[in-house]
Structure formats: C-alpha cells, structure tokens
Amino acid sequence: MKKQRYRLDTKKGIRSVLYSITAIIATACLVIFLNIVFMGIGLSEYVRKTPDYVNVTWLEVTDQGYELNEDVRAKMDKNDVWAMLLNEEGQVIWEYRKPEELADSYSRADITRMSKWYLQGYPVYLRIWEDKIIVTGYPKDTLWKYNIEFSLPWIDFIKRVWVYFFLINFIWIIGLTFLFTRKWKEQREKARIEWIAGISHDIRTPLSMVMGYADTLEHDDNLSGEERQQAAVIKHQSIIMKELVEDLNLTSRLEYSMQALRKEEVRPAAVLREVAASFLNDVQEGQLQIALEIEETAEDIMIKADRRLLVRAFRNLTNNSMQHGGQADAVTIQIHMQRDKSRCIIRFEDNGMGYSEEVLRQLLNRRKKDAAQNIRGLGIVQKIIIAHGGKISFGNCQDGGSFCLIKFRSRIRL
C-alpha cells in the first residue's frame, strides 16, 4: 500500500530563528553606525570651535604698524576673540580688543605657561610669526583645554587590538539587544497565556450551568420527546464547548512551553487500551470499531511521557476519525518497535474520508496565524507529541481514509 506522506517542516523553525538573528545583528550594526556618526558630529563641532582663522596671514605690515584683515576682524568680533602680538622681548607691540587686565609685557615663564593652558583665565593660542608671537584669545570660561599624551608603545598596542575591542563591543551590543528582545517576547507570551487562561476560567462557570441544566432537562420525564432531544443537543454541544475551552488553554500553554510535562514511565500499549476501551464504552454498539494491534513485544515498550496528555492526544486522534468530516466507523491502531529498537511507532488509521488538502496544508504549516478551527483537535495532538520530543506525520491512505504516524523515543522494559 503506497502512502502519501506529509512531514512537518522543521526547517521553517530554523529559518525564523535565522531571521531574528539577522534582525538583531542589523540592529546592532545600526546602533554602532549611529554612535560613530554622533561621535563624528561631536568632534567636528569641537574642531569648528578652534580658531582656524588664527593664522599668520591676517596681519599686514603697513606704515602705521600692523593692520587687521577686514574679514578676519569681522569674524573675531563675531566670536568675541581678541589678539596681541609679542616681540622677542615679550612686549606687546600690537593688540586688538585685548582685555584691560592683561599686562603689556610677558616673561619667558609667562609665555611658556600660557602656551599650553590659560593666560589669567583666558584660553589662548600661540603662533609664531617671523620672530614674533601672535597670541589669540577667547573670553574667559569659554573653552576647556586639555593636553593629551600617549606613550608610543601604547598607540602601537591599540593599533594591533582595536579590531578585537570593536568585536567585543559588537558582541556586547548584540547580547544586550538579544536579552531585551527575549525578555520582552517572554512577557508578551506570558500575558497571552494568562489572558487565555482567564477566558477559559471565566467560561467554565456559566458553561457548568448550561451543561448541568441541559442534562437535567434531557432526563426530565415531564417534557416531550422532542424537547428532551433538544436538551440533549444543548448538552452535547456544551460538552464540545468544554473540550474546546480545554484545548484552547492547553494549546496556548504548550505553544509557549508553559505546560510542565509530568513525565513518568508509561506503557503506551496500556494507554492505547484505555483510550480504546473508553471510546467503545461510550459510543453506541456498532457505531465504531477499534482494532488494537499490539505485537507481543510491543507490550514491553516504555516511554517517558505525561500520561494525561498522551491520553488526550490519542483521544483526539480517535475522535477526529469519527467526527470532523472523517466519518470513519473503523479505526486501526498499531504499535511496534522500530527495528533499531530506539523508537516506537504508533499508527492510527481509519476508513473515513481522509484529510482534505486544506487540513493537511494547515497541519504542515504550524504558523500560528493559520491554526484554523477545523484542525484544533489535531493541532493539539501535534503540539503534545512535539512537546514530548516525538515526531508526528499525517497523511491519506491511497484507498481512502487517513493515517497518523507517531514516533517516540522509547525503550523495552526488561
């Protein structure tokens, strides 16, 4: 018998991780780029502040002595800059806007001191012009001056390791961004889970009454057969609602790995028997046939699993065969050990109408957006199996009906 097989696309998950990593790296690059740009702007601002026009070409020697170039004068006025010219003996031979408090003559010591720092609090710049010194000064408290010295070996060292420094910074930024993004995402997921848990909690109490009274009416002998039938429908539908609410809650918890799995050693053969028996007990005679095919050796298969969730998954699979367009009246369940004895394979097969293309497409595509209503029962099966580290695939048999293949890591009980 040839089967069409549909397998879950795990590559999609990897791809989404790659996407987010790329996004993070891109963000980090952008942050670094912006840093450099801002630093550049800051530096250029500083450079602009230095009196670039303070050079020797602006003084012209005339008959009367020295004359200031007109452009430069305007600039100096605008920036509140003053200037003076010292001869070899340190005497002021020309000045422009020089503050009154400053002396007219300077010793070598004075000149040495002011060449690096301030002249009585005025930030000044010294230039040599021929054998004279031009002193250009800003008003008090307008500039901060600092002398920087580096030892040459240190500069060499920096030259060698700056790439690594850059890398370390880069990694830091990536790491921080990543942490923040994850935390933010976690919070959002948690809020969503709590929201869903809240809804399912709030629905339960009113649903109790719908279900309870519908049940009472169904068994009320004073009502007509038709009325009781209607009550039975209400009850049946409210049971479906109850299951949907449970599924919804469990789905959201499994989706974000918030459901703690209570793993214990479970014999899948026993779980399958339990599920099959409870179905056969509840359906009407002849409505459903379940053939459980357990090989002798398969009795000893043990897996580590949350029993309750496993029962739920197997129930949903069987239920899905009967309902939701499956309309099967015979379900075959097989369990056997894979040949290499590392995994067990559980196979559900029915003689119903099979899955529609649409359902199969949705089962393959696990993205949340597409988690449509008509696969909810199967979607949760998928999530339960995957949460247990198992593999699951769905498909249609060639001669009608659908199948589901589940693989679990397992061991043989000795």
Binding site: R204, L207, M209, G212, A260, R273, A277, L292
Partner: protein
C-alpha cells in the same frame, strides 16, 4: 448511618451554581445541604453545622479555597472535594496535595458530581449505599459480593480473594469494558506489570464458577486485545 444522611456543605460564590448543585444533590437523595458564598461564611457554617463533606470552590471573593482547606485541616479531617474552574495540573495536584479528597473541574455533569461525592463518602466513612445491589445476578447464577459466595442451584462456591477483586471491579463497571491493565492494577496493586497471563488463568477459574459453559461465556466476555466486560 446511611450515605445520604451526611450533611454536605457547598461553598461557591455563584448563587446560580449553588442552586444547581444543590438540586443535583437533592435529586440524588442527599437532603441535608447547607451553602456558603465566601470563606468567612463557610467557616462559620462549618463550625455550626459540622458537615460530613465539603464541596469547595477554589476562587472565592474573600480568599481561595486552598487556604480555607488548610484552615479546616487544622481542626478536622472532614472530606473535601474541590469544584474548580481551573484545570491546570498544578492546581489539581496542589489541591490534592493539601489533603483534598477529589478535584472536579467545571463544567461537570450531575452524574459525575454524584458519583464522586458518593465515592468519597463511601471511602471515608466506610458505609455502603443502601440502594446498591451487593448481589449480582448472572443468568441462573447469583454472586453475593458481601460474602464472596457464588450460588448456582443448590451449589455454593466461594471466590478466592483475586477472583473476588476481579468480579467486584467488573460489576462496578457492568456493561463497560475494563482493560487488562485496570484489572491487573486492581488485583496486584503495585507492580501490576507482567501479570496478564496470570490474569487469564484467574478469569478462566472465575468463569468455571459463574458461567454455565465456561468455554462459551455469556456473562464474563472477553473484548479482544482490550480487556473484559461483565454483562
């Protein structure tokens, strides 16, 4: 004391739900029912009425049922069943861990509620439902579960302990399939694994005692691959 003579205290903040559950219990035969809407009221009624069983909602307006249970456990061992709108396993286990006797998740059916209430009462007070039939009729054969004796015509056969456990489990679920695993668990309790073949032997002996034709059983039926069923 009859099972239905025990007083039941129902604590839930939703009046409609209280009425409904009260109705269920009355219909089932319980006639002493008191209700409370919050922890404070529950404590007061608990001291005044000394109920035989408490049905306790987990979410109450002035506190949660878990802490109320802890308070009650300090002074009494009265059986408590939680009625909760939360189905998370942690909640269930938390409740049972605190010493609750059962945990029912909303929504529930009347049948389920009554079954659990009676089961807890029976277990805790070791009384038997007076209406419960301790005698099973299987065609021309009568099994008395209170003495473990099978009567067929004039002959009397006594059941062994294991046969008795098997038939009791099957009769509790009469008409329903009981899996091999459940039967093994009932008979051998811990470490029930690997007794399937022994179970077959016990079933055969049991059939010899209750069936007219043990090779063509009419009452104790085999459901192939799953278990057994008593019809």
């Amino acid at each position: 004391m009859n099972l239905y003579d025990y007083k039941i205290l129902l604590v839930d903040d939703e009046p409609d739900l209280r009425n409904m559950v009260k109705g269920f219990l009355q219909k089932a035969g319980f006639y002493k029912i008191v209700t409370a809407a919050c922890c404070e009221e529950a404590k007061e009624i608990f001291h005044r009425e000394a109920p035989g069983l408490i049905l306790l909602d987990v979410m109450l307006p002035d506190g949660d049922g878990f802490s109320l249970l802890q308070r009650i456990r300090e002074e009494s061992e009265v059986p408590v069943i939680f009625l909760s709108a939360r189905d998370e396993d942690e909640n269930r286990l938390h409740g049972l861990g605190l010493g609750a006797d059962d945990y029912i998740t909303k929504p529930f059916l009347a049948q389920e509620l009554i079954l659990r209430v009676t089961a807890v009462l029976k277990r805790v007070y070791r009384v038997h439902d007076m209406q419960e039939n301790r005698i099973i009729m299987l065609g021309g054969c009568k099994v008395d579960l209170s003495s473990g004796v099978v009567y067929r015509g004039d002959t009397e056969v006594t059941l062994t302990a294991k046969e008795y456990a098997i038939i009791q489990k099957l009769s509790e679920n009469r008409g329903r399939i009981v899996t091999i695993d459940t039967l093994c668990e009932t008979v051998w309790q811990e470490g029930n694994y690997g007794y399937e073949n022994t179970l077959i032997v016990h079933i055969r002996r049991l059939r010899e005692k209750i069936e007219e034709d043990p090779s063509h059983p009419k009452h104790l039926l085999t459901v192939r691959g799953l278990g057994y069923k008593l019809v």
